[in-house]
């Protein structure tokens, strides 16, 4: 095992990796931008180094700065987390050159699957079904021809894409020009590659993905599926394992397919094969994510495995400590993503400082979050501030437990998506498992419950203001007896 690992990420995933390292007795090195100087994860690591200004391009995406810290700190390996440099083949190569182990797949594997066009071709070669489309770069004319032949809507995708960037649904021909321009530009900015390809738009599929794992000796196995159909504009909101739409037989077929794909590119470490599942149980290969996923905890909860520790072990050259036949799944796990976004204002991102935070607890409740009082949420990074993961014997119990935990959850200082999750988890269709990737955008009716407590909020604010003013007005001592709670308030000073 490594003696020291550098965590090339921030926030909750940096903390997640630091925790896994600590549990294995591995020393940790954190890196931080100017905006993260006072973030919690920085103080959880054994050593911490600044790597530049707040914009990711000038800090978390700086390969040279990160490898310089690795050299100075004597870290033997780098864990990239998700996002940032996690699927960057050049980073994997630069690590190899600097004799630092990249905790993830080799550069060739990242390249083979990271480009969605190449991944499509690899899947086609293995006979894995893919969504009808063009396995090559398209310009406006080719996309137009495809749209005319297949009918609208069509889906434009960035070859180097991920996370909804460079993705555009085109519903009619006259929107094509602008969409292809925006998708190309967005992809160019985000991935340094503006190549766009086109697929037929599948209207209401489920998003089901399979966790795969490979070691350096060529062993590849899968850890079952996650369903991530609850999305809003291609951003996942709720993830669960198992999927209500996957039975034992389908799990095996999906798993075998994912393992075959991973094997075909010599895959090492953690990866995810994403599929679309239509209402007849027919699946289509979508893409491979060559990194640890945001939603990995649901797989951990149902398999009892620590995926980050497993990543560290296989990166250190250890053999996968179990075989496919040893993998067992128990119960049901559900993850809700709590984001600094305003569900009452079209999920616009919000920024601010955490005034106070109270995490839920109780049986089988897990919170992965880097938030502490005074944490800053800025425009520079992702809006995800906490992941709530609940496990239970079955899905219904897991939903009930998650609802209970969400009601205990308090993040004060800005609006979060908790009210959205509270409503979603009470929706009859969600509870029946009748979900698809357009469920939130097209069917679920998020109600503006904000009106319900306006008067209470006003009363509380007025009460607080009254006490503040009373405190500011000096009185003669002994003019009136003061109760302990008022005295305490006066010391507060807010």
């Amino acid at each position: 095992m490594f003696r020291k690992v550098l965590v090339a990420n921030r926030g909750e995933i940096a903390l997640r990796v630091i925790r896994a390292c600590k549990e294995l007795g591995v020393r940790t090195v954190a890196v931080y931008s100017d905006a993260d100087r006072w973030s919690n994860y920085v103080s959880q690591a054994d050593e911490s180094y600044p790597i530049g200004p707040a914009p990711a391009r000038e800090s978390y995406l700086r390969i040279d700065a990160i490898l310089d810290v690795a050299r100075r700190s004597g870290a033997q390996a780098v864990h990239p987390g998700y996002g940032f440099l996690s699927e960057n083949a050049r980073f994997s190569e630069a690590c190899a050159k600097a004799k630092v182990k990249f905790i993830g797949p080799r550069a060739e594997s990242i390249r083979a699957v990271g480009n969605k066009i190449a991944a499509r071709k690899a899947a086609e070669k293995l006979g894995v079904p893919v969504v009808p489309g063009i396995s090559g770069a398209v310009d406006e004319a080719r996309a137009r021809a495809f749209g005319t032949a297949q009918g609208y809507p069509i889906l434009l995708k960035a070859a180097g894409g991920g996370g909804g960037k460079g993705l555009r649904v085109v519903r009619q021909e006259r929107d094509l020009a602008r969409a292809i321009r925006e998708a190309g530009s967005e992809a160019g900015h985000a991935f340094g590659d503006g190549t766009v390809f086109v697929e037929k738009y599948v209207p209401r599929p489920r998003h089901v993905e399979v966790q795969v794992f490979g070691d350096a000796r060529g062993n590849v196995l899968h850890l079952g599926e996650r369903e991530c159909s609850v999305q809003r504009r291609h951003q996942k909101l709720v993830e669960e394992s198992p999927s209500v739409a996957v039975d034992g037989a389908l799990r095996q077929r999906l798993g075998d397919t994912a393992v075959a794909l991973a094997r075909s590119v010599g895959y090492e470490n953690a990866g995810t094969c994403e599929f679309l599942l239509d209402e007849h149980g027919k699946f289509f290969f979508l893409e491979v994510n060559s990194r640890l996923q945001v939603e990995h905890p649901v797989t951990e909860m149902v398999t009892g495995l620590d995926l980050v520790q497993l990543q560290l072990r296989v990166a250190a050259g250890e053999k996968l400590p179990f075989a496919q036949g040893d993998v067992r799944w128990h119960g049901h796990a559900l993850q809700t993503r709590v984001c600094a976004e305003d569900p009452f204002n079209n999920f616009a991102p919000v920024t601010g400082e955490v005034a106070g935070v109270r995490f839920p607890s109780g049986p089988f409740v897990r919170v992965d979050s880097d938030l502490v009082p005074r944490s800053q949420v800025t425009v520079y990074y992702d809006s995800l501030v906490a992941k709530l993961i609940c496990w239970a014997g079955d899905r219904e119990e897991a939903v009930g437990r998650t609802l209970r935990a969400l009601r205990e959850f308090k993040i004060v200082g800005f609006q979060t998506t908790i009210p959205f999750h509270l409503q979603l988890l009470q929706d009859a269709r969600f509870r029946a498992g009748r979900i698809h990737t357009k469920f939130v955008d097209e069917e679920f009716d998020f109600k503006d419950v904000k009106a319900a407590h306006h008067a209470e909020a006003a009363v509380l604010a007025a009460a607080l203001e009254f006490l503040r003013r009373e405190q500011a007005t000096p009185r003669y001592a002994g003019a009136r007896p003061l109760s302990p709670w008022k005295l305490a308030f006066r010391e507060d000073g807010r």
Binding site: K410, A458, A462
Partner: protein, 167 residues
């Protein structure tokens, strides 16, 4: 003490007085007894009548954020005098013939496509704002000339910040 509270378009006139260890509050004519805990934390608990409620709160620039059941309410509280002043200030509006375009959401400016003095058509993109993981083209609201561009590429902007002016 007479206070005026405004929460997202809802207006409340509130009379507060202290009675031993509780407050007597009349909000838009409705009476309620309020008792607050003595915690110094930003997460506190209160009796509103017979109901006890945990809530989050924060005060910044004179505005309260009160969080109930995960929902943040921005509440402006003013006394009678500042309420009068605020109402008088509301009368003044933006200059006629000029369109100010503000950031609809916080984000990062990735591109500025036009310069001051450039002619612009309605719906033509003036700059790009990267937010919610998407690059958004911010268009001109009408035909005219770019009077000024108040941001530069790479700059982080807050919601409501002035981006450019079309005249």
């Amino acid at each position: 003490m007479r206070l005026f509270a405004h929460s997202n378009g809802h207006d409340f006139e509130i009379e507060v007085s202290a009675e031993r260890d509780r407050l007597h509050v009349v909000c838009n004519g409705k009476e309620i007894v309020v008792a607050l805990d003595d915690q110094k934390s930003s997460i506190r608990t209160a009796f509103l009548g017979d109901r006890r409620l945990d809530f989050g709160w924060d005060r910044r620039d004179g505005t309260y954020s009160v969080q109930i059941e995960g929902v943040e309410y921005e509440v402006v509280v003013r006394d009678a005098r500042s309420e009068l002043l605020a109402k008088a200030a509301q009368v003044a509006g933006p200059a006629a013939g000029v369109a100010e375009v503000r950031a609809p959401i916080p984000g990062l400016i990735t591109k500025v496509l036009l310069n001051p003095g450039d002619a612009v058509q309605k719906d033509q993109a003036v700059l790009c704002l990267d937010a919610m993981k998407l690059e958004n083209e911010i268009p001109a609201p009408r035909d005219g000339t770019v009077r000024s561009v108040e941001v530069r590429p790479g700059q982080a902007v807050e919601k409501g910040q002035l981006l450019f002016v079309i005249g």
